[in-house]
Each structure stands twice: as C-alpha cells, then as structure tokens.
C-alpha cells in the first residue's frame, strides 16, 4: 500500500523548524507546497513580489545580481537543506536579487504573504519565525563582510 505523507514530517525534521511551537508549525505546514525548477529557470527575479520563502530539498540555487550592460553575476550558491528568501519578512517585500536554479532544484515553497497576514493576529507565530530567520541573516551578513575583507586584503591577480 502506498502511503502519502504531507510535508509536515519533512518540515518538522528540518533544523530550521526544530523546537517550533506546534501550533505555529502546523500553520506553516498549511502554507507549504513542493516545487521543482529545471536548470536555468528563475525562482524569483529582482523587484518581484517577495511572497514566499524556500527550503532546498535537493539541488543548487544560484543567487544572481543583474549588472547593466553585461552578463549577470552569481554571488552565492545555496545547497540542500538551506533556507533562502528573507525579503518576505522585510518591507517593501520585494526581491533584491534574482534566484536561479543552477541544476535540477527541488524546493519546499512556503507562502510568506499568507504567513504575514497570520502573523499580525498570531504573535507567537511571528516570534517563532523571526527568531529563526534572524540568526540566518546575521550569519550570512557576517560571512559576506568577511568576503569583503578577503577581497580587499588579498591582491587581485586578474
């Protein structure tokens, strides 16, 4: 007999959601869906409405910056298990970069627009999500600062 599971167990086992208030987790699970992107396709584009965030199940996502007059530049790649897309939490809720599938990418998409509305009424839900996103954003900010230091202190060869 084939047993079909929802995304609840997958999310519950992910470190990002570890220890989440059960009611909040149930709300998040209700806003989830699977998605698949072929290599080269865009998950979102700069300036678009940031109404989701994403959990990578498998594959690689490339974060790109559009550079006028030349080819876009990949500035970071994220892999299986990573969360991306924090712009849904920060007004004006628009994407600041492009996100593109670098290979076959399987994601769980979480409806951020829906969660934003629910968070206004459910402060526990809001706290649980902000509490988890803040360390990720802080870590990425620190890592990018060190990349600036590296680029500034190590002579360019090209």
């Amino acid at each position: 007999m084939v047993q079909i599971e929802g995304l609840g167990p997958t999310l519950a086992q992910h470190p990002f959601f570890a220890g989440m208030d059960p009611g909040a987790l149930e709300t998040v699970v209700g806003c989830c869906a699977n998605a698949v992107y072929r290599p080269g396709s865009y998950i979102f584009r700069e300036g678009g409405a940031a109404d989701h965030f994403y959990l990578i199940r498998s594959g690689v996502m490339a974060l790109e910056v559009h550079v006028p007059g030349r080819e876009a530049v990949v500035i970071e790649t994220l892999e299986s298990g990573e969360i991306f897309g924090w712009s849904w939490l920060v007004s004006p809720y628009t994407w600041t970069n492009d996100a593109r599938a670098a290979d076959n990418l399987r994601l769980i998409t979480i409806d951020g627009a829906c969660l934003r509305r629910k968070m206004e009424a459910d402060r526990v839900l809001g706290y649980e999500l902000y509490k988890r996103f803040m360390p990720i954003m802080a870590k990425r900010l620190a890592a990018n600062r060190m990349r600036i230091v590296e680029l500034a202190t190590e002579p360019a060869t090209a």
Partner: protein, 286 residues
C-alpha cells in the same frame, strides 16, 4: 675563540646565511601576477625539504624574499617556487627568464606535521595563492594515501580566472579517494559550481570531526573565519594547523623581524598548531 654555528654562518661559510646558486629551468605563468619557477642547483646537488618549509630567495641586485616551497618533496632534484608579484623584488623576479641564476637559502621553518597525523581524516582549507604552501603536503598525503582516512580539499578564489594549480585541482578531483570543493566569489550566470566563501565549503564537507586534522593556509585575517568554520563542525583547535607569514630577513631566528608574540616565525613557525597561537590572533599589533 670558540665559534658557534651562528658565528660560522655570519663569517660566510656555506651555511644558513650564504645563498646557494640555482638556475631557473622553467617559468610558468599561473594566473595573472603569479608565476612558478622550477629550479636546479648549479652544483647539481638535490635540495631536500619537508612540506611547509620556505626558502629565502635572492634575486641578485634586487633583493631577497621568503617564499614557500611548492614542489614535491619526493623530487628534491627540482626546486619549485610559486611567487606572487606584489612588491619591488617580486615584480623584478617576474621579469626573469629561464637560465637566470638566483640565490636560495634554506629550507627554513617548521614543516607541516605528517607523521603525527597518520590514521586521521585530513581536510585542507585554503584560497588563492594559499594553495602554494599546502601543495607539498597534499602531494605527500596522496603519495601515502593508505595512511589516511578521508581527504578533503576546500579551495576558494575570486573567480574562475584566479584558480591556482587548476590542473592539479582537476587531477585531485578526478581521484576516487579525494573530495575537492572549489568555491569562487563570483561567477557568470549559468555557472553550476559553488559560489561563496571557502568557509561555506567547509560547512558542507563530509568529514568526521573527531577523526579530522585540518590544515589551513589563508591570510592572517581570513584564518579565523576558516578556523571558525572548522570548530563549528566540531574539529578541535588542537587538530587545526595553520601557516602564517611575516616579513622575514635572516630566516634563522636572529634579526627578530618575524617575531610573532613569543615566537620567531622563521624557526618556531611558519606552521603552528592553532591552539598554541589562538590567543595571539586576538591581540592587535602582534
């Protein structure tokens, strides 16, 4: 007067302060601004060294600089140095052609510990030209592959045009018993490799922290993020080895130019076990 070994060197007998003459047999442009010399001693004698050691390299009429040895220590008949042209002396060195003669003093410095780590998993963490001092150790570990567990190489560069020893990296990646992660800071759209920091590559490397010895060669400011990535994975600081740089003059622990806290980097380093120098990293102006 009883002379010490240092006094003998000072009066100019063949020793640590007298360069040996070597001829450049090959010049290879690696990436822009970085070149590799292959050298042979004029007197034909081999140059034994251990991975992690360095030489003081003299370009007569220009000056002398410390340069890590980058070749295979099982081939002492050929001395290999990879040099980045960043200052007066190294920019002059970049203009030298094959058959030019240079002076070599060394080898100096404490080497990477290889016999002490037999049986361990090994991870190398480096970027840009930092691969040059690590390459002899990678060669030796792969020569003695059965003595070690997992072997992982994490290498980062600015972009795809800055990857040093790209042929070696490709060859190591092609081995079935070695994992190689190459990360660039930026890449053109469509690139399918990893983009980000080397520390990010360390975070996804498949290692067993309890069994792992880590070898880090980065600029001093970038050593701490690399070490943090390793300690986050559970590798303890007594299993992390770093190599550091200072302006060196004598190379034999006399002049004090390379002082690093209570140590002289030319003879107590350049390889250090991280837990023994961790406190010095937090001190400014050391």
């Amino acid at each position: 007067m009883q002379s010490t070994s240092n006094a003998q060197a000072v009066v100019g007998e063949a020793g640590d302060l007298m360069p040996r003459l070597f001829r450049i047999t090959q010049v290879k442009k690696e990436v822009p601004g970085v070149f590799t010399w292959r050298l042979a001693a004029l007197d034909g004698t081999p140059f034994p060294f251990r991975p992690g050691q360095f030489n003081m390299v003299t370009m007569f009429g220009a000056g002398e600089v410390p340069v890590s040895i980058s070749g295979d220590c099982r081939r002492p008949e050929e001395l290999v140095h990879t040099i980045r042209a960043v200052g007066t002396v190294t920019n002059a060195m970049e203009r030298l052609k094959t058959k030019s003669v240079v002076g070599i003093r060394g080898p100096f410095g404490r080497p990477w510990p290889i016999d002490q780590i037999v049986g361990s998993d090994v991870i190398f963490v480096t970027g840009t030209i930092g691969l040059a001092p690590l390459r002899p150790l990678i060669f030796e570990v792969l020569h003695r592959r059965n003595d070690f567990g997992k072997v992982v190489i994490c290498y980062g560069s600015r972009g795809m045009d800055d990857i040093l020893y790209v042929d070696d990296l490709a060859r190591w990646r092609g081995r079935f018993d070695t994992n190689v992660h190459v990360t660039v800071h930026s890449a053109p759209s469509g690139y399918r490799g990893r983009v980000g920091s080397v520390a990010a590559a360390v975070r996804v490397a498949r290692i067993d922290p309890a069994l792992t010895q880590a070898f880090v060669c980065r600029s001093e400011v970038m050593t701490r993020p690399a070490v943090s990535a390793l300690t986050e994975r559970g590798v303890t600081t007594d299993r992390i080895w770093v190599t550091l740089e200072r302006n060196m003059k004598c190379g034999v622990g006399l002049c004090g130019h390379c002082q690093f806290g209570p140590t002289f980097m030319c003879k107590d380093g350049p390889v250090y076990r991280y837990d023994q120098v961790e406190a010095l990293f937090a001190k400014r102006e050391i």
